[in-house]
Subunit: 450 residues, 2 copies
């Protein structure tokens, strides 16, 4: 039996972040991380294996941070957690006892009950190197690829597969718009147009009825009655938390929501924490269960969990959800509530938009239009959501908007915010998109109260 | 006599932002903007006239926002403000009466008493089209350009002039590092190296003794005893507030600090506001006078002033100062206190750094190293400063850091901040620079208290 102070199960983003954090907060402790994969795939990087990167091997999480932080790495599969004895048993028969345990077992692809999902060359997206190599071979040989699901992962797959020579790609999305769970039309419309400009066929408001073929997939039947040719089908419809291990151990779990955790990321056993896709989440702003299964949220939860290993120091806030992606020269981002969702929740809102070049003067080369849409609660003036489109600066711009939401800023505080501006890096200070959009909201809210 | 509700003097960033804001908050008012220039130069864009842009005409503030916001534009020079009668008189003999007045007269270049400053082809940087055209002609013909001052404007001039064929450029800076008033060595060293890589000669710790020549400049004598060849000298050493008009009107002013204003941007006369470079400033965090004369601060002040025209609604916070710039592929930014300044103020601080690629995996093309340095007050854990270097996302990254400072976030709040990450737009969630640097600080602060 190996004794360790802090044991982590899972080596993806959450497990790794938990290990690094535990080392920083508990410099003298022994930390062990057990994972089943020899090599760990970067989850968000998977679509880029199919176009931009040369092979799955280029999309691996390095082990250097584990070694640099003196974390014992064990490649093995945990079969059982004994929470009374505070130990785990692995496939190879090893036993590891712990003082505290963090479960970071992640998630696996959702399966939908469409006839034909078991045909050859119908792929879910597994974070597994062999699976991805097989999938890549199939895509490289395919003439027609159908992606089911127009969320972030589905669209990224579509845009990347479309970079293969002589490959036709179609995305099929059940909802009226792509990215609908995270964005309003201001973003969805631009993304749909950009993908179509790239030659991707985007079908929204479209149900998949059946996947057809003999041994291997040959076509996909959709709601309109049309049949789409398909040598490869990729299911990009989301993930479900991996809770089997936790459930067998007697921890409180839900197959849909994940392992139950409190605000400190503790499970129903005070010595066991959970973090990442396997852990339950409560959504901003209402606190109801919401599946924000993002690597960024996973690492935040892992940091909170690891900080609390030696005593409660940190609380996990409701994930507001900060998304970003890029298709060709168009980057988009979203944070917090969409207009649609806020209205559904019954929040009385005000939305404003502003756009301008991302350099000034506009005569400078490489100017790209950057636009934002901000969503405010009318009664308080608080920002509750924001979306942005533009060039490569969108990744940080949406984090900036996320900070405003998380820190509960009002429209009048944002419009008098002292942003920095520079000709080569941002819009002019007069036209700066965030302050301009906030100013419209602040003026309208202020005048409506006079 | 023309009667107007709200009169604005000055048509640069502050005047324009004041006009737009006044229109949004006071939709039914009459607004008049008087400026002396037919065309208004974009101040921050001036250096780019000398390399990246084709001519000064490409660097003008458009008048469309004035027309679109129904603001009466008068091209004329205000000679006198009569604050008892609440009216102004112009060079052409016109009289405009106002209900409230905003003075946004800006600044003019500082002059330093070096022998030879009056020689031909020794230029200060005036926001004037004729002056800039003359300066551009001289630079285009020059073989040797010497820039005095290694602040943002000076370095931008140097890097741009260096893009002219067969032109040697030298920057002379009195202090030990370039950008020293805004940045620590982590930034200054990288900028100096980048400029030298571009072929710019950077001399720090170097005093200018004399500018030599007969009619036109021929050389510059520096402290070491060396003499630098020079056909053109550019003085990039800062600005002084333009307060003559306000002083003549009997408003409280200081030649160094500018027109005195309260926290609502009101001058010593309750009907007169001032905003932008001409207005006095108090610096973050101590509130002492500090010359943060940036277009971004100017527009924030203008927004506050204009919002308050019809009654006090907004307070101006101390400008923390958010700077950014770019030299070739290196962008840098700084916000709040530097380590040096914080130590000078006697603040007990903790600094941490983190760097990573700005994409993930690092095998993706176009990866650029992005690094941050964060400065925390030890007793409270509050972030009081931050600096960053990297690619084009630095413009928004430093605004993000600025938001954290302005909103008084602690290290532990930043390290558990839910940033969004994306392979093509940011570092990985495990390596994300801001959270990583904050985590080091949070762990150290937390452990030091146990």
């Amino acid at each position: 039996m190996t004794n360790t102070d802090y044991l982590i199960i899972g080596g993806s983003a959450a497990g790794l972040a938990a290990g690094i954090t535990a080392r920083q907060y508990y410099p003298d402790s022994s930390i062990t991380l057990i994972r089943k994969e020899e090599n760990v795939v970067i989850p968000c990087g998977i679509p880029y294996i199919f176009g931009t990167l040369d092979s799955p091997d280029q999309n691996l999480i390095p082990d250097a941070p584990l070694h640099n932080n003196d974390i014992d790495l064990v490649i093995d599969k945990v079969e059982d957690i004994d929470k009374e004895e505070k130990c785990v048993k692995t496939s190879s028969g090893e036993v590891f006892s712990y003082n505290k345990l963090i479960i970071a077992t992640g998630s696996s692809p959702l399966e939908i009950p469409i006839p034909g999902v078991d045909l050859e060359n119908v792929f879910t997206v597994e974070k597994d190197l062999d699976h991805l190599n097989k999938m890549l071979d199939a895509v490289e040989e395919a003439t027609d690829v159908v992606v089911i699901g127009g969320g972030f992962m589905g669209l990224e797959f579509a845009d990347e597969c479309n970079k293969q020579d002589d490959t036709n790609v179609t995305v099929v999305e059940r909802l009226p718009n792509v990215l609908q769970l995270a964005c309003d039309e201001v973003i969805s419309d631009k993304v749909e147009a950009k993908l179509m400009e790239h030659g991707v066929n985007v079908l929204t408001n479209t149900e998949v009825k059946e996947i057809n073929g003999d041994e291997s997939v040959e076509s996909v039947s959709i709601g309109s009655g049309d049949v789409l040719d398909a040598d490869v089908v990729i299911m990009g419809i989301g993930v479900k938390p991996s809770v089997d291990l936790a459930r067998s151990a007697g921890l409180k779990t839900s197959g849909k929501h994940g392992i139950w955790v409190d605000d400190f990321m503790r499970t129903s056993d005070e010595h066991v924490f959970a973090a990442g896709d396997c852990a339950g989440k409560r959504g901003y702003p209402s606190g109801e269960a919401r599946a924000v299964r993002l690597a960024s949220v996973a690492t935040t939860e892992a940091r909170v969990a690891a900080t609390n290993l030696g005593g409660i120091r940190q609380r996990m806030e409701y994930p507001i959800g900060i998304f970003s992606t890029k298709f060709g020269d168009l980057a988009v981002g979203a944070a917090g509530q969409t207009e649609k969702d806020a209205r559904k929740l019954g929040i009385d809102i005000l939305t404003t938009e502003a756009s301008a070049c991302d350099r000034h003067p506009g005569k400078l080369p490489e100017c790209t239009e950057l636009g934002v849409k901000l969503i405010f609660a009318k009664d308080t003036g608080l920002i509750i959501g924001g979306q942005a489109y533009g060039g490569s600066s969108i990744g940080e711009m949406i984090n900036f908007i996320g900070a405003l939401i998380q820190h509960k800023m009002r429209a009048d505080e944002i419009f008098t915010f002292q942003m920095g501006t520079h000709p080569l890096l941002t819009a002019s200070p007069v036209a700066y998109q965030l302050t301009s959009a906030a100013q419209k909201a602040a003026a309208e809210l202020s005048n409506s109260r006079r």
